[in-house]
């Protein structure tokens, strides 16, 4: 691979460009008007402005990105996460243009992109799925019938959704009627598809996901799990690996299910199989598969010692990965990622603004993947992720200690930010014990 266009922004574009630059690949950043001064633009070999600040005019504008690919002669495209990364039509256009898509086939993306089809497909492949509706639920009346069959509480989700948008739990008929309408409106607005599905809602759940890599020869390998149970508004705030909640037998079962899921759709490149783990029963179920690099991939990198972006580029080029696929590297020690968001640390409401001071922590076992630098302006157009602080330690306790020091050392002045929340989280007895679930933040705030 000689050149790579990164169809994304912020920290993930910068992180991909860093690896590609180190591999001697010519890198091309695309950016919106609002992002012209961000570090990822300057760190790429070349950069192209693809439009105005609203995502629909730039990062989601397929024609604008295709034009940039053509104008720069890019040989490959890495989509990052979010934006066009799970858009199978875009992947198809890239592929049809004779350009390498750093990701799975458009077919696998389509099969996993529709949550209902994916669930049915996984069930057929022998992967456990939660009780739920096998088809989209057309209206409130049908939702009420389905919910009474599944049994309350139920989770209402957008079939085409992600990122927790439009998701809510309902404990009775009244709540379901209102949750259904809200989910439908949001699904239409955010994903242009109003299809809704219902699933059994697990009261004390942990969100445990498995990193997989589908190799060029068709082998699917699992690279351990990440526990993503620290969430606000159904969105992840902190992730760790290994999961403190599961024993080695459960881990083996989860990894096995994830490999089966990947094999069922002939998966290539990096993907993540999300599972729900019921703390009370020890059961786990397939939730969905993300057909792209995940935000929290660095925790896997810190425990395995791999560079997942470099492996993605090798696979996309038809080359072998850097490790023995029969014996993928096991987790060494413990890693924790904290998502530093531009939001207030109490209610978690967005707080964009100009950065007047920015000092990242450094040192052994500390990594910062940031999208911003001192002097940049955080605008309201995109998600609130400023940076990811990722730490590694010999044990979970050592990793938490390292995180406490690193958070104390991290200074962001200007936009509101949730660093004070992480001070609280790292001092929280439930989190420190490792025995927590996805309701943790709500309990901290109630």
């Amino acid at each position: 691979m000689e050149s790579l266009l990164v169809a994304n922004r912020g920290e993930i574009a910068r992180r991909i460009i860093r690896t590609a630059n180190a591999l001697g690949i010519r890198t091309i950043a695309v950016f919106s008007e609002a992002d012209a001064d961000l570090p990822f633009v300057g760190e790429a070999t070349e950069s192209v402005c693809i439009g105005a600040s609203p995502p629909a005019d730039s990062y989601l504008n397929v024609d604008a990105v295709m034009a940039a690919i053509e104008a720069t002669g890019a040989q490959a495209v890495h989509p990052g996460y979010g934006f066009l990364s799970e858009n199978a039509d875009f992947a198809q256009r890239v592929t049809d243009a004779g350009v390498i898509w750093v990701g799975p086939s458009p077919t696998a993306m389509r099969e996993m992109g529709d949550k209902i089809a994916a669930r049915n497909r996984m069930q057929a492949a022998g992967v456990p799925v939660a009780p739920g509706t096998p088809d989209p639920v057309p209206d409130v009346a049908a939702a009420l019938v389905a919910a009474n069959e599944i049994g309350y509480p139920v989770m209402v989700k957008a079939a085409a959704g992600g990122g927790g948008i439009g998701m809510s739990a309902a404990y009775n008929d009244d709540e379901l009627a209102s949750a259904f309408e809200t989910a439908k409106t949001r699904a239409q607005r955010f994903f242009s598809d109003p299809s809704i599905l219902l699933e059994k809602y697990v009261a004390r759940a942990r969100h445990v996901e498995v990193q997989i890599l589908g190799l060029a020869d068709g082998t699917v390998v699992a690279l351990g799990e990440r526990d993503c149970s620290v969430q606000r508004r159904h969105q992840k705030v902190a992730e760790e690996s290994p999961s403190p909640a599961i024993d080695s037998a459960t881990r083996a079962a989860l990894l096995d299910a994830a490999v089966k899921a990947g094999e069922a759709v002939d998966y290539r490149n990096a993907g993540t199989v999300e599972m729900l783990f019921d703390v009370d029963t020890g059961e786990s179920w397939f939730l969905e598969m993300n057909t792209r690099l995940q935000v929290e991939h660095p925790v896997t990198e810190l425990v395995t010692g791999l560079d997942l972006v470099a492996e993605q580029l090798r696979i996309a080029s038809g080359e072998e990965v850097s490790f023995d696929a029969m014996n993928p590297p096991p987790a060494q020690g413990h890693a924790l990622e904290l998502r530093v968001y531009a939001e207030d640390p109490k209610r978690f409401f967005p707080g964009p603004g100009a950065i007047t001071e920015w000092n990242e922590p450094t040192g052994s076992g500390v990594r910062v993947d940031s999208g911003y630098a001192n002097g940049n302006v955080v605008t309201p157009f995109y998600d609130p992720l400023l940076a990811k602080l990722i730490v590694h330690g010999e044990t979970r306790e050592a990793a938490l200690d390292r995180a406490r020091s690193a958070v104390a050392e991290f200074t962001v002045v200007g936009p509101k930010n949730n660093l004070p929340f992480f001070v609280e989280l790292l001092d929280n007895a439930e989190f420190s014990s490792g025995d927590y679930d996805t309701g943790l933040i709500n309990r901290m705030r109630s």
Binding site: R233, G353, T379, P380, Y382
Partner: protein, 70 residues
């Protein structure tokens, strides 16, 4: 009289009232969107919308006037 101002820079997604409407404490006046989150802006007292300073699609900054309730 109460001025309703923006808590953060945002895009005005929906305007749910017009000048002259009477509103009650807690009624949603407009819905902002910032950083992929919808943020309802509510009236904090009963009254009449005597001034509406934003339209759907506007980009507004922190502390910009949204409406006046009197």
């Amino acid at each position: 009289m109460a001025e309703v101002r923006a808590e953060m820079s945002a895009n005005v997604w929906k305007v749910l009232v017009k000048a002259g409407d009477s509103v009650s404490d807690g009624d949603t006046l407009v819905i902002l969107e910032s950083m992929k989150m919808e943020i309802p802006v509510v009236a904090e007292e009963d009254g009449t919308v005597s001034e509406l300073a934003v339209s759907e699609g506007d980009n507004i900054d922190e502390d910009d006037l949204i409406a006046v309730i009197s």
